[in-house]
């Protein structure tokens, strides 16, 4: 890579602290652009970094990044008033990632007054992670000839703000979990691409979490769907950043192959927090040809298509019940844009003394609803008999069943053996939901 210009990694440095359950040690890692740095390193790509960092962290961050192949580290500015420490309460992103940035309202950023232009002249491509800093002011300090690849998942208020940057934006990465996506892209990839048309991008990459990603090429108008490689999530923080770095590292092989490689690397990053093991996984994956990667397939479930795949919630979803696990599951499914039917809400919650005819009418409505759904997601808390009957009905009708049983109350042969997935772990159940529905689309097509 010695003759290839180094990519320039631009953004903030954080400390990520994952808060683990009692009895396990909390996990501390350097965060922010450090995730992308690990992504470059695993691909064997050296890089340079231009960072916004609290002063107390500056030396250790520079030292850390150098161990991952950072050949030059330039301080763009300093954070003060806050330590840039993020507490992470859910490292698996089953739901909206539960982050807490300490003292965020006290945080201020002072950018360096000027940067020696010669220090930056050698760079041709920059991977930028916007943050609390003034993006336009930072870009004014970077060479005008730089090609920008921007992760617009967070801290970009509008497409118009990106249009004010003086450099050419080659690539925008956006995620279905970002606010900007919710404002611009929920109607489909074409609508999303139209929202970014003014930027005259080469490529727009929509990262769709466990459902894969889509890559829209402006020149041809073509969209390529790339499946996710789902595995048991150990820590999903920074997975998207690793995707971006890997994409840029492989861009010379074309954006489509780059995105396939990026999907594999980001999956590997989610499955370990040990850099050496992550690098081992990446190096192994590199032995597979692009064709081999494509033929293996994966899980592909576009965001807007999920709304058409209705899910029946089988659970004691009654007023007065302990619905914490149910609400967690529903929240996670809705976060991923699934259309969840809650029969108790839709068909009514009956009084305990209801007569047989009333009960039978509601039973039929619930069964009709269940049969109209593509998947039954069951949360059989308290060994609720109605939920167990619904599981049985779904099995009998050949409807996939995913059972989330957080307290392992129903480790029963018929429940476990009859369902497509039975787990105490919501991450596992979500993966199974994506997998079952992705397969049902594949078969339908």
């Amino acid at each position: 890579m010695s003759e290839t210009p180094l990519p320039l990694l631009v953004g903030e440095i954080f400390v990520d602290v994952t808060i683990t359950p009692p009895g396990e040690e909390n996990k501390l890692r350097l965060g922010g652009i450090a995730h992308a740095a690990r992504g470059f390193w695993a691909q064997g790509v050296s890089f340079a970094a231009a960072v916004v960092v609290p002063e107390y962290l500056e030396k250790s961050a520079e030292d850390y990044l150098s161990k991952f192949g950072c050949k030059k580290c330039i301080t763009l500015g300093h954070v003060s008033g806050a330590p840039n420490v993020i507490l992470i309460f859910d490292a698996t992103e089953v739901d909206d990632q539960n982050y807490e940035t300490l003292l965020r309202e006290e945080k201020t950023i002072t950018l360096s007054k000027e940067i020696d232009a010669n220090e930056l002249a050698e760079f041709t491509d920059a991977l930028i992670f916007p943050g609390s800093y003034d993006l336009a002011a930072v870009c004014d300090r970077l060479p005008a000839s730089l090609r920008l690849h921007i992760d617009a998942a967070y801290d970009v208020q509008s497409v118009g703000n990106l249009g004010k940057l003086r450099q050419k934006i080659e690539t925008i990465f956006i995620s279905t979990s970002s606010q900007l996506f919710k404002e611009t892209g929920t109607l489909g990839i074409e609508a999303l691409a139209s929202s970014f048309a003014e930027l005259k991008l080469n490529v727009l990459v929509l990262k769709e979490n466990r459902g894969g990603c889509r890559l829209h090429t402006s020149l041809t108008g073509a969209t390529e769907g790339i499946p996710a490689q789902l595995g048991a999530t150990v820590n999903s923080v920074g997975v998207g950043d690793v995707f971006d770095a890997t994409y840029l590292a492989h861009l010379g092989e074309g954006p489509v192959e780059a995105a396939w490689r990026a999907a594999s690397a980001s999956s590997a990053y989610a499955q370990t927090t040990e850099p050496d093991i992550f690098q081992t996984y990446v190096r192994r994956d590199a032995k597979l040809s692009f064709l081999q990667l494509k033929e293996l397939g994966g899980t592909f479930l576009p965001w807007e298509q999920r709304r058409t795949l209705q899910i029946y919630l089988a659970a004691p979803d009654f007023t007065g019940s302990d619905r914490r696990a149910i609400e967690r599951a529903v929240s996670a499914l809705k976060y991923h844009n699934f259309h969840v039917h809650r029969p108790v809400t839709e068909n009514g919650e009956l009084p305990r003394d209801s007569d047989h005819i009333t009960l039978a009418m509601t039973y039929r409505k619930d069964v009709d609803l269940l049969k109209a759904c593509k998947l039954v997601f069951a949360v059989p808390t308290g060994r609720d008999p109605g939920t167990l009957v619904e599981i049985g009905l779904a099995i009998a009708h050949g409807i996939p069943v995913v059972v989330y049983d957080p307290d392992a109350e129903c480790t029963n042969t018929m429940v476990v053996g009859g369902s497509n997935c039975y787990s105490r772990n919501l991450d596992t159940c979500l993966n199974a939901t994506f997998d079952c529905l992705s397969q049902s689309i594949g078969k339908a097509q």
Binding site: K27, F68, G298
Partner: protein, 131 residues
């Protein structure tokens, strides 16, 4: 588990704690190996009726039949005679790279049914580390 605690940054390259290489059946009990390639797996195979074994014999292979994982276009489980019994679920796609690295996966049929409604084969596989 890599970095632990919050006293300092420790997850530098080369910081992983030494671990056994795994394979040769490791992962069938106790703490699974850190390297996913070295872990044993259990899988319900997909598309059994469409694969060569079922199409040839009109039945699923009996319990105890020896299988190994092969990389065709997809990852498949096949008999020693080379008949494909079923596809592995895509969540095991990472094994393709493990096999490029020299790992092999050998196992046996643990569950077998001819249906209806569908033919079912489930199998356990042990990981064999590169020699």
């Amino acid at each position: 588990m890599g970095t632990s605690g919050s006293g300092r940054l420790t997850d530098y390259p080369g910081s992983s704690k030494p671990k056994s290489k795994g394979g040769d059946g490791e992962g069938s009990g106790g703490v699974p190996p850190a390297d996913r390639c070295a872990r044993a797996i259990s899988a319900s195979l997909e598309d059994v009726e469409h694969c060569t074994y079922f199409r040839t014999h009109k039945i699923s292979p009996p319990v105890g039949t020896q299988l190994h994982i092969a990389h065709q276009k997809r990852l498949v489980a096949q008999t020693d005679a080379g008949e494909v019994v079923g596809n592995l679920p895509t969540r095991f796609n990472y094994l393709a790279a493990c096999m490029e690295d020299g790992y092999t996966y050998v196992g046996k049929v643990r569950d077998s049914s001819n249906g209806p409604p569908i033919a079912i084969v489930a199998a356990d596989f042990a990981a064999m580390a590169p020699k």
